[in-house]
């Protein structure tokens, strides 16, 4: 990310901002989708985040931190989108577990992960995605999200614990129903 381009955008240069959008929108969208697990919601979050990033850009002091800063705005846009959508309707599409063909265990694991992930709070999802998908260490996650490092750690711990518990419960149900393990 060229700080000079960020500076130009900060000064109101929309062309420069479009350049930045071209550089960050793919990664922002990928993160949004993985937090929200729904295409429409991720698209809305990305759109709102890009607009907010433009609006708030004059407030960014350190041009070199544009990417992390835009990630923070994106995560907050995900929070807002999550709440907005939950406010109106549950739009969760549960995927039926696959049968017993070869490779079904892998697919079933992914389905269980998908279903379990939808049951954990969105702030925990964000930390989980930033850590395991983006690859940020906890200290950087804390900086990115503007939260204490201890909070980032506890959210990741809670997310991991919840996911493992939910997946274990799902696997147990599958066994009880006589499905292949």
């Amino acid at each position: 990310m060229d700080p000079a381009v960020v500076e130009r955008a900060r000064g109101g240069d929309r062309e420069a901002f479009a350049t930045l959008v071209g550089q960050v929108s793919d990664s922002l969208y990928a993160v949004a989708f993985r937090i929200l697990r729904e295409t429409g919601a991720a698209e809305d979050a990305l759109q709102n985040a890009l607009i907010a990033t433009w609006q708030q850009l004059p407030h960014l002091r350190d041009a070199a931190r544009f990417e992390a800063w835009s990630q923070r705005i994106l995560v907050h846009a995900c929070y807002a989108e999550f709440r907005r959508r939950r406010q109106f309707a549950s739009n969760v599409h549960l995927i039926q577990a696959s049968g017993s063909t070869d490779g079904s265990r892998v697919l079933a694991d992914r389905d269980e992960m998908d279903q379990a992930f939808r049951h954990i709070p969105v702030d925990q999802r964000a930390v989980f995605v930033l850590h395991h998908y983006v690859g940020l260490p906890l200290v950087e996650i804390a900086e990115t999200l503007g939260i204490p490092a201890g909070t980032a750690r506890s959210r990741l711990h809670s997310a991991t614990h919840s996911l493992r518990s939910l997946m274990a419960a799902s696997a147990l149900r599958t066994l009880e129903e006589g499905q292949p393990a």
Binding site: R10, D13, A18, V21, L50, P58, R61, M113, R164
Partner: protein
């Protein structure tokens, strides 16, 4: 983090599934919205941050005020809008020795008025940093590269902002215009004086020449610009930016301050709609909250606040404010609010009602919550009772803290004014009113027949009130991708509902000041379950015109992000006089 490497590996493999490329249409839509969206440079946030509790707000205000009082060198008595004898300019004896660009790096607040390209005297700050010199103009930061010429010690400026942005901000200058300035610093480094006899950009020269006061931001502000509470000399003032009437575009407010008060909208703030439509006066040394907030064009909000408990559902609706009494009636009708002391009042030439409002303990806002690690929702105790013209929450009461507000609701020309004095409890409010009421009673609302220069409104311009009502389609209006039609839409005080068979789609709207009869519609805000066919969001810009009898409304699309909305709104509509204007 995990002690289960298999789980981590599986988690990462699962996360790797899914899209990694943003849809182009989504990015394009965002950029289209951005093309008509200004950046936010008004940093009054810490004073009006909507999610702060009253107590937190007071604490922030107190901390900043204390910092200002303690930092005596930063206290600046603005002469720019005082009626009568202005206080003297800060001392500006030039410093000796060579000046460096580094010594000039700061945000600088204008000493005295500085006419901008619009002629409204709104340039209030400029910044010199490693990137150069930026003048905070109306629409953009006007940037110049800066250099101190070693041989002469002069400040050399090269206008770097793109030509289309200069043109858009009415700067009759050219990219690359050069200017040479003498820059002198006062011995204490607090006052910068610029003089010039050579600048190809006359507007830049007109703005820069003269005195500037150093205006470094306190450490807690991570902003390019920041607010300071600046103590004003006792006397009578006219608010430099606040426009009380016609949606924050016309009129002025004069007031008299005793010693120890400040106008929080003093420089360096950004002269956008927010500043023009609200202002705050504060008493710097008061022991408790001390702000008087004055807002133009608010409307009461009903957040359907409820006692905390299970199964809270979020439904909100706006209330009417056709007249001050009507707004007071609305607040009185809300079961969660306690409204007392209602009396007729006359302030500054306007009439209205004053009331004291508090919210019952244990009441929460079911539309605002946080989810904890156990999946439990904690609902906000900040109850929003007034919103602005674009549906932003403005006035809150904290049900947990016993907060109380003294509200004065006034009827003005094309405006609904609210004067708010809030406190954390009743005794604090009474103490505060002791300070605030003499200032409020000194208010004089000045109605100018000629609109402000940035708000050209011809006699034939439609008003927001003209548009409100229920409108019936002239001709058929198919709903895109649906076997049905839209026959009716409703325009409320600040919302626009398109009525569909399966639910309404709500957008917010606002009339913009120029050109006349231009309207922005924003959203959809999705107040009801929105069908997938409404997969759009953004700003629509339309021209609206009314027939002379007010019965026919015509929408002409200028630019619209949401094609579904455009397909429905564009064209003619007739007023449905039998329908209620606010069906919500």
């Amino acid at each position: 983090m995990s002690d289960d490497p298999i789980f981590e590996r599986n988690a990462r493999a699962w996360l790797d599934l899914g899209p990694s490329t943003a849809p182009k249409r989504v990015v394009d839509a965002a950029l289209r919205t951005i093309a008509s969206t200004p950046q936010k440079r008004d940093l009054r946030g810490p004073w009006r941050f909507p999610h702060l509790t009253l107590n937190t707000r007071f604490a922030v205000a107190a901390a900043v005020a204390l910092a200002v009082v303690a930092a005596g060198a930063l206290i600046w008595r603005s002469p720019q809008s005082q009626i009568g004898n202005p206080s003297p300019s800060p001392t500006s004896s030039p410093s000796q020795g060579p000046i460096s660009l580094q010594s000039l790096q700061s945000t600088w607040a204008s000493v005295g008025p500085r006419p901008d390209a619009y002629g409204t005297g709104n340039v209030q700050a400029m910044t010199i940093d490693e990137a150069g010199l930026r003048i905070s103009s109306y629409k953009v930061d006007v940037t110049s590269a800066a250099l101190i010429v070693n041989a002469t010690g002069k400040l050399l400026l090269d206008l770097t902002l793109r030509q289309d942005y200069l043109d858009g901000d009415r700067w009759e200058c050219a990219t690359g215009d050069m200017g040479t300035y003498d820059a002198t610093l006062s011995p204490d480094g607090q006052t910068l004086t610029l003089s010039s006899t050579d600048d190809s950009c006359a507007l830049r020269q007109g703005i820069l020449v003269g005195d500037w006061t150093r205006w470094d931001c306190p450490p807690q502000y991570d902003y390019a610009y920041c607010d300071h509470a600046s103590e004003l000399a006792p006397g009578r003032y006219v608010a430099p930016l606040f426009r009380p009437f016609h949606n924050g575009t016309t009129g002025q407010l004069a007031y008299t301050l005793p010693a120890g008060w400040a106008d929080l909208s003093q420089p360096p703030t950004w002269p956008d709609f927010g500043v023009a439509s609200q202002m705050s006066l504060t008493r710097l040394d008061a022991p408790d909250t001390r702000a008087i907030n004055i807002f133009a064009n608010l409307h009461p909000n009903n957040p359907a606040a409820l006692p905390d408990g299970p199964d809270l559902a979020c439904h909100s609706a706006t209330g009417p404010f056709a007249a001050a009494a009507q707004a007071a009636d609305f607040l009185e009708s809300q079961p969660f609010l306690s409204v007392s002391g209602r009396t007729a009042v006359g302030i500054g030439g306007l009439t209205g009602v004053q009331i004291d409002v508090s919210v019952a303990s244990g009441i929460v806002d079911p539309c605002s919550w946080e989810t904890d690690g156990a999946g439990q929702n904690t609902y906000s105790t900040n109850i929003n009772i007034f919103q602005n013209a674009i549906n932003e929450p403005v006035i809150y009461l904290d049900s947990a803290g016993g907060a109380v507000a003294h509200l004065i609701l006034l009827d003005g020309p094309g405006a609904h004014l609210v004067i708010e004095v809030s406190a954390s409890d009743q005794p604090s409010l009474e103490a505060q009113l002791g300070y605030a009421m003499p200032v409020i009673e000194s208010f004089e609302f000045i109605s100018d027949q000629s609109p402000s220069p940035t708000a050209v409104i011809s006699p034939s311009a439609v008003s927001a009130t003209d548009l409100q009502g229920t409108w019936t389609s002239v001709g058929t209006r198919p709903i895109p991708d649906a076997p049905d039609q839209v026959t009716v839409f409703t325009i409320g005080a600040n919302y626009l509902d398109i009525h569909q068979w399966d639910g309404d789609v709500r957008s917010s709207w606002t009339l913009i000041d120029a050109p006349i009869n231009r309207i922005w519609v924003h959203g959809p805000l999705a107040t009801v379950p929105v069908a997938p066919r409404w997969d759009c969001f953004g700003i629509g810009e339309y021209d609206v015109s009314l027939s002379t009898d007010g019965a026919t409304l015509t929408w002409t699309s200028i630019d619209e992000d949401c094609s579904q909305r455009e397909a429905i709104l564009a064209g003619d509509w007739t007023r449905d006089v039998a329908a209620e204007p606010s069906p919500k």
